[in-house]
């Protein structure tokens, strides 16, 4: 099932990841700020928890999720599976025949983003800083919907073979228009949410999906067309988070104008 050596390997990898960060932090703290760290014990214990937590998290994913998810991505994009839903097996596959792929992309994008640790971290901070106005789960669901839509659209792009930059530029135009109308408080957070979505959980599964699609769809080159899904997953949350703020603002203003009507 799992050997001790596997755990030690993952643990060492995580420690190696943390070493540069810890060196920079403690180095600057000692050499430049020259002040003892407040609650040193708690902070060190916190770092230890983060390392242990990430190691267990990665190990568990490796054991439970990644092999299954990657096989699934391959199976769903395989011609044998796609033709099993077609009446006429001589006809070639159109983009619409890949509907299970789009649905899988949507579902896996949404569910992995909900479990993404760095998004949880940013959502907790945003909740604290906004004094509770931004709800932790509201933000997470908004980001997850953005990733889900982005990855399904990215899968569609790989199937039809459109150049990626038209999609990304189109997304930029939407972001610029929304920036003009969205509440000012949300803008920086929305821009940030593009970068936080794609880390530990999402990237491996999404990469497997992209490479699976690009190697199965006729005429696609995996080394060129397999990339780009992560870019979709970082762009669309910006749009969905601003939309979330716009909708909340609209609902609030409608509710308050109703109250005014009643008062009259």
């Amino acid at each position: 099932m799992i050997s001790l050596s596997q755990f030690i390997d993952t643990f060492t990898d995580t420690v190696i990841d943390v070493i540069p960060i810890a060196t920079i932090i403690f180095g600057f703290q000692i050499a430049v700020l020259r002040k003892p760290i407040a609650n040193l014990h708690t902070v060190v214990l916190g770092f230890f928890y983060v390392i242990v937590g990430l190691s267990l998290f990665l190990l568990g994913l490796e054991l439970a999720l990644f092999p299954l998810g990657e096989t699934m991505a391959k199976q769903l994009t395989a011609p044998e599976f796609l033709y099993s839903f077609k009446d006429d097996i001589t006809a070639s596959l159109g983009w619409i025949d890949y509907y299970w792929v789009y649905l899988f992309a949507f579902a896996i994008g949404f569910s992995t983003t909900i479990a993404e640790p760095s998004l949880i971290a940013v959502a907790i901070k945003a909740n604290q800083v906004s004094g509770g106005a931004i709800r932790v789960n509201g933000l997470r669901i908004a980001v997850a919907l953005g990733v889900a839509i982005g990855i399904s659209l990215g899968s569609y792009r790989i199937v039809v073979g459109d150049p990626i930059h038209y999609y990304i530029m189109g997304g930029y135009v939407v972001v610029i228009i929304q920036t003009h109308f969205a509440p000012k408080l949300i803008i920086a957070l929305a821009y940030d949410s593009g970068g936080v979505t794609t880390s530990t959980v999402t990237v491996p599964l999404v990469t497997a999906l992209g490479l699976g699609l690009a190697s199965q769809v006729p005429g696609r080159n995996p080394v060129i067309d397999g990339f780009g899904l992560v870019a979709f997953a970082s762009l669309f949350p910006i749009i969905s988070v601003m939309a979330y703020a716009q909708i909340t603002q609209w609902l609030n203003s409608r509710a308050s104008s109703k109250e005014n009507d009643n008062a009259l």
């Binding site: 990898d13 990841d17 943390v18 960060i21 932090i25 600057f28 430049v32 700020l33 002040k35 708690t42 060190v44 916190g46 230890f48 928890y49 983060v50 390392i51 242990v52 990430l54 267990l56 998290f57 990665l58 190990l59 568990g60 994913l61 054991l63 439970a64 999720l65 299954l68 699934m72 769903l76 299970w100 899988f104 579902a107 896996i108 949404f110 909900i114 479990a115 640790p117 971290a121 945003a126 990626i164 930059h165 990304i168 930029y172 920036t179 000012k184 803008i187 821009y191 940030d192 970068g195 794609t198 880390s199 530990t200 990237v203 080394v223 060129i224 990339f227 780009g228 870019a231 970082s234």
Partner: protein
């Protein structure tokens, strides 16, 4: 006893976070693909580890990463030395990115693409050079991005103008960059920010914005991650153009 209840509650919350994945996998495995689960025991055990790991991570976040990020930001603001703050910001960006495993994976694949496209000779040495060059380029760009973001917080520049100018830069460079590098460049924005960097950098930004007079932590504190995902795209395309 109280601690145990808190731990149990936290684990329950982590479990809830994982439920969507479990549903999605189960639905596609049983209903769409109609296949049984291979070794259920190992999967259940893996899920238990994921729940435990997430719980510990969030505990550690609140005990270690958030407090240290914010207290250092406040200490730098009190010290008032711009040079050290900027050096710290650069080191944080560069140091956390250069060791990032996701970046190493993407850089190696990018080298393969370049070798196949005939940009560089197909030898292991050339490909290693290319991949390392790319990694350093991305790490440099993240270091600069955090510096830029910190300077923005200090000066109170509006973020949307900077990000939109960055977008325009990306669009213009897309015209000139070799086609093989575009997908990788776009992806490199997303892969640079790891699970440990994000909370730390977020806490740094919010700590800075809340200790400088006239800054609003909500408007000015966020945005560091946004720069860290935008600049690598620009730098990777420049790298591709310089080498071709």
């Amino acid at each position: 006893m109280k601690a145990l209840i808190a731990l149990f509650k936290a684990m329950l919350a982590s479990f809830r976070d994982l439920l969507p994945i479990v549903f999605v996998i189960a639905f596609f495995q049983f209903i769409v693909l109609q296949e049984p689960l291979p070794n259920i025991l190992s999967i259940l055990f893996g899920l238990l580890l994921v729940v435990l790991g997430l719980t510990f991570f969030i505990f550690g976040l609140n005990m270690g990463l958030f407090p240290i990020g914010e207290s250092m930001a406040q200490a730098f603001a009190r010290k008032g030395s711009l040079f050290w703050l900027i050096l710290f910001a650069f080191c944080l960006g560069f140091g956390t990115t250069i060791a990032e495993p996701a970046l190493t994976a993407v850089a190696n694949e990018a080298a393969e693409v370049a070798a196949e496209g005939g940009v560089i000779p197909q030898t292991i040495e050339e490909m290693d050079n290319y991949a390392n060059g790319l990694r350093v380029t991305v790490a440099l760009s993240v270091g600069l991005a955090i510096v830029l973001g910190v300077v923005r917080i200090l000066k109170g520049w509006p973020i949307h103008i900077m990000i939109i100018s960055g977008y325009i830069g990306v669009v213009v460079l897309t015209w000139f960059a070799p086609e093989t590098i575009i997908g990788i460049a776009y992806d490199s924005g997303g892969v640079t920010t790891s699970t440990i960097t994000v909370p730390l950098v977020t806490a740094l930004g919010i700590g800075l914005a809340s200790s400088i007079k006239g800054r609003n932590p909500m408007v000015d504190g966020f945005g560091l991650i946004a720069f860290a995902s935008l600049l690598p795209m620009i730098f990777v395309m420049l790298y591709g153009m310089v080498l071709s």
